[in-house]
Symmetry: C2
Amino acid sequence: MHQYFFFVSPDRIKDNLAELTDDDFRHCVQVLRKREGDEIALLDGIGHSYLAVIQSIGNKSCVCRIITRQQREKSLSAGISLGFGLVKNRALESIIRDAAALGVTAINPLNTQHSVKQAINSDRLKKIAVESIKQSGNFHLPEIGHVRSLPEWLAELPPKALRLLADIDGMQRIGDIFTKEPNSPVIVLVGPEGGFSEEETQSVVGAGFIPVRLHTHRLRTELAAVAGIAAVCALSS
Amino acid sequence: MHQYFFFVSPDRIKDNLAELTDDDFRHCVQVLRKREGDEIALLDGIGHSYLAVIQSIGNKSCVCRIITRQQREKSLSAGISLGFGLVKNRALESIIRDAAALGVTAINPLNTQHSVKQAINSDRLKKIAVESIKQSGNFHLPEIGHVRSLPEWLAELPPKALRLLADIDGMQRIGDIFTKEPNSPVIVLVGPEGGFSEEETQSVVGAGFIPVRLHTHRLRTELAAVAGIAAVCALSS
């Protein structure tokens, strides 16, 4: 059975003190009924875990004294980032949960011609990502981007990454590419339900994305995202 | 945009006539308001699709005349089968949906020491699988096993398959294995929430399963199942 981690935002950690707030405070003190002097494990989402002792409990937060700090190497999926055409809430939450567990660095929902038009609740998505990293033992919280248009996102991409477009009509398999370029950062791009338009696909390919066939079947956006990330993880060393 | 398929059970196809029943009948006639003489596309779940014309509509079924029949080759994931420790309904349904879209041959829920004890609704699971193959353009309906105990399932496995156990403590990565044994049938086994017990892991390894580390993080059962299948798909040729 694995250790339970509480999440502490890095800006709540100063010297050897960490302040637990919000859901994690309530879960710790009200649900698990931890008391002053109890030992708990923390993670900060930027690569560290801590063993700490609860020093004082207030009404809305508790202060913990850090005893040991561990740094975890970035996982094998570090350097993978995900862009995807915005989908309905349930599928969106599933993407956030799974991509966070799989340890991607960044998750970017995109407005595209066929994507669902909706406001996203960033706080809720961050909570889902935090729960998922705690549960999976991932010490790195992915950055969840605000919703951007596809062209806006394309213009801001880092120049050196390997760019892969999940495309059922792609001529290459993901394995064909990875034998050649094993260890650079990877950006995986997945269309919304209904896919990218012809015009969008052209602009994506124009931006250097290689269309790769993840599967001979049409995968839903959330499944294609997971399958793409898992395939990159399996193939990178 | 892709073609919509109606599912016809193979035993409802005789000579050049196919009988649409149940949900597919209702969807075709009551929702989409198809009429006699209309053309529709069918799939039978054993590898064929059909172009057909509705010949007569009854109260509970309609008879279609088959015009052309197409046989689809097994997909790249044919020959992959999945065993997993039984999980709660929502996760179970997600596994069925995703594994069917990814084209596995068989899906086997297993009773294990840490798995959820529950009856499963086979009809509902089959419906989910049918919807998923229609949606993904998979022409092959996976066989969904009844719930068996782990030892019972182990005793009935085909002898020649490559056996992979998803195990965060595994010494090998999935890519290490696939460079050696590329094209045999593959069985992917995933533990329930809480994992296999020590004793179960020993019996599984004793049955020839190779513990492979899909990821450095702990993946939930449903995510491990998809990640494992996707990795095998990415690595098989």
